[in-house]
Symmetry: C2
Subunit: 577 residues, 2 copies
């Protein structure tokens, strides 16, 4: 492609409404433009990246045995009523009426449509397992779209749905998809982690998320320093300490702590590290038929944080997790929140595994303005129910016993689920099994946010000059820059020749033949993140050299003209594919 005939729509200034770096850089590099809130046009340079991501996803899905289909974006309400989601789905479902006043939606997902198709088409276990996928435009009417294509309303997604008789077959395909997703993200050239995810809300029995690691990510992921274990923070198990709890060495003492109501303040005031304190959180108990709901106390080490999902999944605790109000706390304990503690608390207590391992700890005295020091379980108060209540922290033991946990931030770009028979049951999707009996289909579903990957790749790969594309998804792999080509026929000719040579060798090449100053060209190429830059200049031609600089390189280097092709073939990992 010749840059002189191509829309290079770079911007110097950071757009004021772009909050995250990928959004800023996609606008500045001329990859996207906003049409309306959460709606973006992909400009030529951006679309090249999107199409490369799409192609890699398609090739690996095909390789895995997936069959590509294409379902309509517009879906009839009847199917969503059948599954129950027409009512359940909130404002994110874009509902609309056609000219005959019939209800439809712009599909955010296609479980209903594919289940309807399959219940009509497949009759026998002999036709299974089968895995159907599509790469298709979806719509989610976000209340507050933001972050560019990272959380757009209209987006490109790969969604796949597998069908099975029996969970063993589902498990097999689930494993195939897990491997396929790894192959996809490997080929994309991204640093990613498949992590165990909570599947409670979806109603399935297993679920993994695939995260692109980036410090700007919205999600926290815990993973082992010495094994493949990885889970999102919600799901990561905090093991109980393996050694014995230390013996008590202090007496329990009530001390005045006037005005000190936070862990940090108490720790400071009493000169005790936060990890020797406990905090007491009161939450609503699970309702029992018609009764007023009581409270439950959750005890955590002062330096730990409550994991809401773990807590609400426990029997006896209301779901969703609901913190008691100050009013309710006073009513139940006779004391304000900043001074409560587990000793003689008139509320059932659940103790986190780490808090249960403390000796000589500090806690509220259940008396305003006082705390207790030197408190010990079983000596000063009973240690009743112990559970995993907290978020893991760096340095915790890995739940699989190998290594310790590290925590990194990630951007969720893929998700695989075992759906089980949730949809097949609601919609009556059955086939005849080996015994000629009707069997409900087991289903898996497997999503990848194709357009989101583009943004996530930038969050992970950029510097203060712009984007740094992995070769596999760069809009162009190589930029050939002619310096003052409009003045020097020799430079222009050598540039054209190199452009042809590299293109014929299979590289996606941008020939920057624009009548711009070198500084403008270099800045644009760095902003747009092209991995390899080759400069053709009069000075170089005289010396028989071209100047090469990789996007991540600190220095440029001169290479003999006929060494540039083998050099690039060696430098670009995609060539090996």
């Amino acid at each position: 492609m010749r840059a002189s005939r191509y829309l290079i729509a770079t911007l110097k200034e950071n757009p004021s409404d772009a909050e995250i770096v990928s959004h800023q850089l996609m606008l500045r590099a001329g990859m996207i433009r906003k049409l309306a809130s959460g709606l973006y046009t992909w400009l030529p340079l951006g679309l090249r990246v999107l199409r490369k991501v799409e192609r890699i996803v398609r090739e690996e899905m095909d390789r895995s045995g997936g069959q590509e289909v294409l379902m309509p974006a517009i879906q009839p309400a009847e199917l969503w009523q059948e599954s129950g989601r027409w009512q359940q789905y909130g404002g994110e479902l874009l509902r609309l009426k056609d000219r005959h006043d019939r209800d439809f939606c712009f599909g955010p997902t296609h479980e209903e449509v594919i289940t309807d198709l399959i219940r009509n088409e497949l009759k026998s276990y002999k036709e299974l397992p089968a895995n159907f996928y599509q790469i298709q435009t979806k719509f989610r009417d976000e209340r507050r779209p933001r972050f560019g294509v990272m959380r757009a309303r209209e987006f490109l997604m790969k969604d796949a749905y597998s069908f099975h008789v029996g969970s063993e077959s589902l498990n097999e395909t689930y494993e195939v998809m897990h491997r396929t997703y790894c192959a996809i993200f490997d080929r994309l050239g991204l640093d990613y982690r498949p992590v165990e995810a909570d599947s409670g809300a979806i109603g399935g029995s297993a679920s993994h998320e695939f995260h692109v690691l980036a410090s700007s990510g919205e999600d926290e992921i815990a993973f082992s320093t010495e094994s493949d274990y990885a889970a999102n923070l919600e799901k990561a198990v905090a093991l109980a300490p393996t050694d014995d709890r230390p013996q008590p060495s202090e007496d329990m003492t009530e001390v005045a702590t006037p005005g000190q109501t936070t862990i940090a303040a108490i720790s400071d005031f009493l000169k005790v590290p936060t990890e020797k304190t406990v905090k007491t959180l009161l939450v609503k108990a699970e309702a029992e038929d018609g009764e007023e709901r009581g409270l439950v106390a959750l005890i955590l080490r002062g330096d730990h944080t409550l994991n809401d999902i773990k807590a609400e999944n426990l029997p006896g605790i209301a779901e969703p997790l609901t913190m008691a109000t100050d009013e309710e706390i006073r009513k139940a304990t006779g004391c304000p929140p900043g001074s409560i503690g587990p000793v003689k608390l008139p509320v059932p207590v659940i103790v986190d595994r780490a808090a249960a391992h403390l000796a000589d700890f500090v806690c509220g005295a259940n008396r305003e303005g006082y705390h207790l020091t030197g408190v010990n379980w079983e000596r000063d108060l009973p240690l009743g129910r112990v559970e995993d209540l907290r978020n893991v922290v760096e340095g915790d033991l890995s739940p699989d016993g190998k290594g310790v946990l590290e925590i990194r931030r990630g951007i969720e770009v893929g998700h695989i689920f075992k759906l089980g028979n949730k949809y097949s049951k609601a919609m009556g999707a059955t086939v005849l099994d080996e015994n000629g009996k009707s069997a409900l289909l087991e289903m898996g579903c497997y999503g990848i946010g194709v357009s989101r990957i583009v943004a996530a790749a930038i969050e992970q790969n950029h510097d203060d000059r712009g984007i740094i594309w992995p070769d596999a998804i760069a809009p162009f792999e190589v930029a050939v820059v002619t310096l003052n080509g409009h003045k020097s026929p020799a430079v222009q000719e050598a540039g054209e020749k190199l452009y042809e040579q590299l293109s014929q060798a299979g590289f996606d090449v941008l020939l920057d033949d624009r009548k711009e100053r070198p500084g403008v060209k270099f800045a644009d190429l760095e902003l747009t993140g092209l991995p390899h830059r080759v400069v053709v200049s009069d000075r170089g031609l005289t010396a028989g050299t071209l100047e090469y600089k990789g996007r991540r390189d600190a220095d440029k280097q001169d290479l003999p003209i006929d060494e540039i092709l083998p050099f690039l073939q060696n430098a670009s990992p995609r060539r090996g594919h």
Copy 2:
């Protein structure tokens, strides 16, 4: 692809709601399934065809210098209000509201969005010409969707928009797109014609349609036997006869024609050929400020038909063309419609060129139950205004003077327009020209119905056994059929080997390894239209041969095993690409 792991969803019966052959065959061959009225899911076999069409369109658009973009399906009402189309566009525009009650539509076309983009991005004539295209899902809320994907509500379209300073540049790109469309339809392997089309309604200055020829087509196309001239029937010029009008040889005579009110009846009753009669059609005149609209009489030869578009484009005639009611005819002429004629008609008369060439003709006498015979222009009545009013017929001279016209039916699959400044004017899209002055952009737009092409290809290429794909868009080019492969390991092994060999040579191969009877496999392969079939059997292996049959062949033939690859390479035109 192995058929045993692929959704071959063929149907034996013709679906009752499919009216045309492509719709029937796409359902029967398992290419599509209906989700709701005008909404279709593309099954794996159908999607392979769609993607091949899409790829050819993309490659040729890229080759022509087009820059691919991707605009949102959902568009804000504001832009449509700016162009005026929010009000003008009828019920086919799917209007909807988002969760914040803002107005949007599901775009049936993208003139507004691209014009908005370009007015923001481009500043100077130096950045022009530029041609942006997308291949994208569109929605047209047809009142009565029918014919499957031929006239679906949701469909896949390639739309392109070019921008220029000055009409010369627009003309150049228009010609490039004309050539590009020819290259696309050539590669698709379809019999097509680019035809001149009426561009009045769109407001542009030139327009061509691209039609796939098929006897089931909705449109009629006239083209020359001896030149490239082709136009749709609306547009094809009917030349005036070049010889002199014959001299009168009969006297004008009034004859009683009781109860004879149609041309066919009069011709029969008077034993006069229809081409010696004229018919008189009364239509509304163009309104002049506030006045009651009068009538105009259009005179055509009895065997010719009125061309509405030609008529309404004439000065003095109301647009849209509006026929006078019986009541209005009686009021204006004192006579019912079946007996009116041009002699002494108290209404202005416009005579078609062919009718103006008649001598001794028959027409209504403007007296109920009577006609005139032996009527002659200029002797019996003045010959005033003569115009081209009729549809051409086969055998008419070609307007370019070369050969005569043939008429065939076609399916419109592409359309190119010179839009001029319609949108740039309404939306204020300008750039600075060479003199530093603000210039309104000139625009062209260029559409291809990607999903419609699939149906049109079938309308053109089928027989009573099913579809006959052109190689370039066949879902698979070659079927390798193993006869009783599940019983004969030798057959199975040879089939697998051939499958690998042909796949490696670049063919898209379907290995039909299903445990089905040969008759079932052959019927499926003929229905799904695969161009080349190779059968592996025990009998053949013993003789060292494979059985080949092309989809259009009457007979099969045995070929030595090692000759099959060169044979297919020779037989498949795509291999030459």
